[in-house]
Symmetry: C2
Subunit: 230 residues, 2 copies
Amino acid sequence: MKKAVVLLSGGLDSVTTLALAKSQGYECYAVSFSYGQRHCAELNAAKKIADHYKVAEHKVINIDLGEIGGSALTDNSIDVPKEETQGIPVTYVPARNTIFLSFALGYAEVLQANDIFIGVNAVDYSGYPDCRPEFIQAFQKMARLATKAGVEAEDEAEQVTIHTPLIDITKAQIIRMGTDLGVDYSLTVSCYDADSQGRACGKCDSCRLRRAGFGVAGVADPTIYRQNSG
Amino acid sequence: MKKAVVLLSGGLDSVTTLALAKSQGYECYAVSFSYGQRHCAELNAAKKIADHYKVAEHKVINIDLGEIGGSALTDNSIDVPKEETQGIPVTYVPARNTIFLSFALGYAEVLQANDIFIGVNAVDYSGYPDCRPEFIQAFQKMARLATKAGVEAEDEAEQVTIHTPLIDITKAQIIRMGTDLGVDYSLTVSCYDADSQGRACGKCDSCRLRRAGFGVAGVADPTIYRQNSG
């Protein structure tokens, strides 16, 4: 059975990615990050999902991105916007996916896994630069030069591959794909500003994209919204 | 004054790199990692060096690479070799420089710094893949696609640059360069297996490269070795 490392945030995209990797026959090793994020309900969701999918191992790695700051998600003095904004929003976390994928790369090397799955999306997304295909391609190229496994690999199949099965489909298509795979989206939390019970604000960028996705997909939205969440 | 992020391990190469960046007129922001390394004396050295060079800020970021394991430096059940070995040695830490540079990238973005200095060396080194020029070039290319700063940069000068001033010189040349810059190498710890007082074993790969470097450079070696350290 081929091993895969799957980045699991606890949101809608990452659970769909995990379900897909499992359906493709991978033995899945999930990795989540406790990075000082405002929405720690997401991490609780990740634990429930890892459990539900009986992953081979679930690592939760502590990294203090709050020490660096610079984002509404890691710095409590910056508010999460509740309306659409222009350009790359303040919820962007500097170098987040680079850092997350770097840890996944190290974990994959220790496991002798050549496959890393990440649920980034460059269609219905917040405009984060580290969700785009050109970033992922550059990361993969770098990753193949970075590791002992990469240096010692004898052919392409032994090289690390970053899988991004959701990168060019819409949120509604992701939800339909997940629904076909039997994903229970009530396990997930997407809100950037969820409360400790995982109830969503309904107004942030992530809530708006998620809600619209369920609408277009014609799938009932299982999200629990807080009162006054529009 | 241009800002630079300097990776500071506390070893000989990183202090030389910091001294060089300062001599080039950069305002230096040092970053070190507490990553479960065996040789925590190195971190104490980094703090002393940061203090000595009056850096603008010194971040020590906690990341638990021991959680991933797979190296003699982060897993106490694997011994540090005391003789030369073939190939990439067990002191190699999976994806370490990728992870370190990723944090430096995030930190640089928050500081609005375009320059990152790292003291990697591909001449007198342990054969780690993530010290080679091709890795650094690929990382820089990826970094320019990863960040908001990279997307919004209007020209090359605003893009992030990874500086590796030591990459193609010998250990002896590094020591001579540092000596010319007034570096006090007694502040540094290179040993992979230093004791809590920072005393070196004299036998590991890192000690061997360092000792030979001082010899060839004709500079007195200020390293304090433990008894029976050969």
